[in-house]
Subunit: 347 residues, 2 copies
Amino acid sequence: MKLKEFAKQLGLSPTTVSRALSGYPEVSEKTRKRVAEEAVRLGYRPNVNAVRLVTGRAGAIGVVMGRNGEFQFSEYMSGMAERLDSQDIDILVSPIAEQGGKDESQLYSRLATSGRVDAVIIHSPMPNDERIALLHRLGMPFLVHGRSETEVPHAWLDIDNEGAIRRATSHLIDLGHRRIAMINGRAGLTFSLHRDQGYRKALEQRGIPFDPRLIAHGHFTDELGFRFARSFLEQSPQPTAFVAGSMMTVLGVYRAVRSFGLVVGRDVSVIAHDDVFPYLTADNMVPSLSTTRSSLRAAGARSADLVLQLLSGKPATEIHELWSVELILRESTGPVPHSDAIPDKTG
Amino acid sequence: MKLKEFAKQLGLSPTTVSRALSGYPEVSEKTRKRVAEEAVRLGYRPNVNAVRLVTGRAGAIGVVMGRNGEFQFSEYMSGMAERLDSQDIDILVSPIAEQGGKDESQLYSRLATSGRVDAVIIHSPMPNDERIALLHRLGMPFLVHGRSETEVPHAWLDIDNEGAIRRATSHLIDLGHRRIAMINGRAGLTFSLHRDQGYRKALEQRGIPFDPRLIAHGHFTDELGFRFARSFLEQSPQPTAFVAGSMMTVLGVYRAVRSFGLVVGRDVSVIAHDDVFPYLTADNMVPSLSTTRSSLRAAGARSADLVLQLLSGKPATEIHELWSVELILRESTGPVPHSDAIPDKTG
DNA sequence: TTGAAAGCGGTACCAT
DNA sequence: ATGGTACCGCTTTCAA
């Protein structure tokens, strides 16, 4: 059913019908109501492609997905979807090309110039991210999930990674830990850097020297969690605590600790960042896991909001949101067990 | 840059340029090459919305995401994205409405009648799935990831869930297990039913009575894996083996087994279905986990292929693909330990 | 308050 | 092999 046909059935002009459906004020209330009812009854829906062509709006937000299907992705997307449910806006997931390569910028150029999206959301930015410069140059509105340090103005939503890890590390220090190992995300990404900084600042505050042998970077996988944790535990002296980047990482860390005949929460403390997944929860781990927590789903929902604001004209420079992170202590963190623990006297 | 303007710069008509870019045969090779080069140089890209309007094709495939961000989602999407990378086809993730409610059918109607997608992919179908009837009625091409038992003709790609679980269960029986617990997916979904059938057939073949107290259904979460496994282990006699529906489930199962002071692979055997995730692997579990394995990423890629075939005119009734599943034995499965094991003499 | 008509940016039929 | 032009289905001036 097309507009013209639908209008004819109502005995109105396409113009009036279009206006009625779009909520223009000059249509009489009576007419508007009748049109709305009949549209439902007869199943009339505007052809989105015609609307998009004539209005110049795509009615879609682009999300570029990393190559290796990250487990965090669906949680974030669910949040976005939830928020956009009421709006008539689509989410476009882009077949992504190689990491940071030429292909990737081509992808963004294509997205921008072909008019299939009104805005783009970028994930896992780097401090000096090319994509940000590129999208800015192309004039495509975008939101950064995470942050960058580039001069280029950009809207962003991020969690306080530095603060979260600083508090987590400080807490471990308070418990008497001195050799604290850190299993962080991929090197070079802003959030990994922020977490590194949080870790180092906490040590610094207490005058504990930073030991590069106690820090590792890589994807958030069970396997890397295990391998890194094992290699740390092979050191002498052993670390007595771990700060892990994700729930998946922690699975590997727990296994590694057990494989050394040690007990998490007694011999070794573990704390990790939790993005809150319905299928894997910190409370249910044994022992239950102390975490820095921030809902990724909520971030997705809020991201959708912010993009909408961006599209309705709010300047990118005014869209900066930093979320604080909860620190939730459970059973996986405890005092240093051995007599060689040096109680802290400075704080 | 618009077609008209671009054509003028080349000293050609819009018609010729359009044809050259779309690879029509009647354009001279020389012209085609020049047009292609200049398009890159001047950055000309057809406005997709204009193209969509005039051709009637949306250039997008719709995927409806479940409400609760399932962890499998990103893996499947990655596969699709990988496959569609070369094509100029978008993936539209729909803000999903309630499970099977009116909202959901409205969502599909909207997708179908508004022309934003050329085809839709349906997940987690039920034996008599309303969505299938609906999409068929609406004339929207669709692929079912999984299967249904409806009369309505539909294209589908599925893995052999029944065969996989039958083999897994048979293997456990071969090892001497008689009380085998099954933690399956959500009740009512086709794949859960198929797995139930595989489980029951394996028992039947060996004359082992089916005990409804040994089967449970629910979401694939760590927590449910734990709770179900514990409640099974509280029974007397205890089950000596578990068939689990997913990698997340198995995390809970392992924990539950340990909480009873039992050892997986010695006191209790465990086997699970593995969709193959980069972040959580069967090989790395302790003990390593025996699995029925099938790549969800590959399924995503193949799904994209099949949808493309569907769109190029292949009848839905000719698109039926059933993938067999690998059975991979690792350390989590072993013979029944106790003397009360009754060796099987029938097979 | 309503309607007529001019596009939005392409594609593809019909000529040449 | 190339060009002129009538659409695709809708929004939005402009006029009534």
